[in-house]
Subunit: 211 residues, 3 copies
């Protein structure tokens, strides 16, 4: 899509890079894959959410295949994780921070693209959230885990809040760039606080471990 | 889609409600998720089959996103299950009955929508079955179970029989409403009898546990 | 699609048959399913890769549903595996050989179809690979295994090499038929050698079992 706005493209490609690193590091730690598996899982994590979004808004073939920047950024991120996986280990929880970054960038990028393709604000919020959680969900299904979007720790909620706050700001007359930065920052902060303080959403009474 | 027939819409939304309750109750019992996980799994179970059908017939974006009734009915069903999950427990096997209801309604609704979009009778039967088993299959994959459509107990067969009998009745000149009610009833009865009497489809000889 | 070239159709349907046998045999051995489960898993394995490709290139509804040959070949292959599963057992590793055959045929068929629908050579190579590994990936997810495309043994690489070599040959002026046969043969040989000699792609240092 030559018509994609530079803002959308910058957010989307940065999200692709963050999720590629995250997916590839997950492949190294959780399932111990070889180089092909690491790069494949990194690329699927990075591109899965955007592909689902593009199918839903009928932008086919997905940007992934009509715009080489997506494939090369995803491959590069995965390869970096493969080569420097051991050293990246020294960071504090890099997998989780990258996942939060990808989540935030995709939430606002997915909502912006839905608007560009003629979707209404409600559709934009929902598809922004789907874009954000899609890649990680496919990653978890492939490595045999219950997806993080189902397992607490405020995952879908920050994405929803980020996309929603951006949409509200735009409706109130804000320019797209600050609105997008604000929405992504809100999502990132809520997600990281949620992980740090182990904030959990309410659990149904019947599953209370003390019950 | 303003053009959807009232019959199709009634069947489809009732199926969405039944599957939302079912998916959310599954989330509460099987994987012990928090409120976000419960509602997410309920909504995916409720909307997954219809989204797959809409992608296949190229009705994009899926009705889910262009018609708010789908999202609100799915969210309401999931929330009801979250709030009353403990009390719903007293019903006889409510999860299974709701699943059979969703299966029956989606089998005929999916077949009707395929006809409306210009598909032939054979395509309608197949996509009705795919709509019916799709949501439950995604639910099972997400919670880490082999999907019920693969594990015996007559799951795909009743859906196929319901959609097929409706199509045959329509071809023979029956009106859509009684044909749809008849097809859904046939599916429901076969599915519930199958569960009650543990009727199983034949197993290949090589996997006979006595062999 | 009446417009599909005979070469594409022959490759694609043979691949469907090989993957149907493979998926159904997997269902019999790995998860011990009944006849409906065996045929369902066989058909999903056989048709999944092509459906994903058709969604990506926007050829909807997928050929599976507009061309009855796909469904009947997939159903026949699955049924053959169900009926003769025990006897097929005597072959040397039939599941793996069939998988390699399906992989090779789908890699070149998927690339050819992408070209027919106006995709460039790079898109053709990628979507050929996606077509080739898609059905087996869905099969593995449904039966609860980490997909073979992530677990070493040169799975995605031979598919990529087969599609790429065919594209290079066509660019250099070769006719489609020998180019396709050459590409599929290359993929098949590399895959079978990889399995036979347990050739593995490099593993990241941090996951070295001796480390």
């Amino acid at each position: 899509m030559d018509t994609a706005s530079p803002l959308f493209l910058a957010l989307d490609l940065t999200g692709v890079f963050a999720f590629a690193l995250n997916g590839a590091l997950t492949a190294i730690r959780v399932v111990r894959l070889d180089v092909v598996g690491v790069i494949t899982l990194g690329m699927i994590t990075a591109l899965g959410g955007g592909i689902v979004r593009d199918i839903f808004i009928d932008d086919l073939p997905p940007a992934t295949f009509s715009d080489w920047r997506y494939l090369s950024v995803a491959a590069t991120g995965s390869l970096v994780a493969f080569l420097f996986g051991t050293r990246l280990d020294r960071w504090v929880n890099p997998i989780m921070v990258l996942d939060a970054a990808g989540l935030s960038l995709f939430a606002v990028a997915g909502a912006l693209k839905t608007l560009e393709f003629g979707g209404g604000p409600a559709q934009a919020v929902i598809l922004g959230t789907v874009t954000a959680v899609g890649g990680g969900t496919i990653r978890d299904v492939l490595v045999g885990r219950v997806p993080v979007v189902l397992r607490s720790e405020l995952y879908a909620i920050p994405a929803l809040a980020g996309a929603l706050s951006m949409l509200v700001a735009i409706e109130l007359g804000a320019a797209e760039v600050p609105a997008a930065i604000g929405g992504a920052s809100l999502c990132l902060v809520v997600r990281l606080l949620g992980v740090h303080f182990r904030l959990e959403a309410p659990v149904p009474r019947s599953t209370d471990p003390d019950a």
